[in-house]
Symmetry: D2
Subunit: 115 residues, 4 copies
């Protein structure tokens, strides 16, 4: 897999072959994305923060799968709405750099709790 563009094209093809476009309203895709995000959370919910940083291979494999599922729906939804993910990310980074000036928020969680 070369890049997000290739992934977008392959997901689109995968969906078309199964005639699943009919289920893929942006509303439904947003729901599905959040469900996948929660499956990721489920893997961490009873681990301590320390344990979450020292996953064994089985756990890492499962996390990897859930990350892939989230990316799948993220790419699918952005394709459906014709939104360029990398461009959106660049804009957000610039906005956040202004919202959270490095010298003011340094090491403070509270200041970015709403982030």
């Amino acid at each position: 897999m070369r890049d997000l563009e290739e992934l977008k094209a392959r997901v689109r093809e995968f969906v078309a072959e199964r005639d699943w476009d009919r289920f893929h309203s942006p509303k439904n895709l947003a729901m599905a994305l959040s469900v996948e995000a929660s499956e990721l959370v489920e893997l961490f919910q009873w681990l301590t923060e320390e344990e979450s940083a020292k996953l064994d291979d089985v756990q890492r494999g499962r996390v990897s799968e859930e990350l892939a599922d989230v990316l799948w729906f993220l790419v699918r939804l952005s394709d459906r709405l014709d939104i360029d993910l990398l461009q959106a990310a660049a804009r957000k980074l610039a906005a956040n750099a202004q919202k959270y000036p490095a010298d003011q928020v340094r090491g403070q969680a509270k200041k970015y709790s709403d982030y």
Copy 2:
């Protein structure tokens, strides 16, 4: 923004400048990712599926921001765990092609409701 690699590097730099690594256990990042996914869902929750496919510019802008936030934490978490997102996506696509053979699941939502 060229690609996911550049985004990963820029997010890493953004976090380092603010000394936010201390908050970024995989457990916390998974939580934050799911919170951003829900902020995306919130934009769609009272819309019909039809309305969700015809967003105005303001709505599209907000969706775009939330997609960027999800991608931000997705990239951050995968960096923290040293997981290659595109490789994980490629593996998942291959697994799903086997799990949901196009000729058997065509147009059936139920068959992939657990997906």
Copy 3:
């Protein structure tokens, strides 16, 4: 089951018998609650709104189980933090009555999209 108080006591006993208190920090319980909420969402994600209002017995049984799981963690977390759920609900109803005056928001989704 008579009321929330009885449920709270029985959940507490259930947890104590299994020595699961150690995992039940408020942080972890909030995560678990959101995961259960997403398992509920998963049951509806590919249904139309109309279909979601006409569940068959199997679907209704599964929804019922997920609602019970959400309630379980809601009761558990409120017990852990010594918060009275019904009192909190009464306060919120009063606050919302002020925030969303019936004669002004009547039939308007947008006005309560942030609710």
Copy 4:
């Protein structure tokens, strides 16, 4: 507020006065419930587990509000589907007592990670 029955009746009245039934398909209510659950998670995401057990009054007030919001939609959705929450909870407790025998799962998180 006496009990869940009274809350159910008052939520129903609140919704009717605002003509919001039209937005309350089970699908939409499940989405809204999960969004509220994530607003709860957001309050905890950058706290350590220890900090999450020692909330100050402001934090406790916000948690209390989010718990109320989750309960609001839980009661609303169960009313919409005519599901008795306490009965569902009693059934689930009985099922879990069988699924997780106290003497076998004592103190083990993994065994109930899928719970």
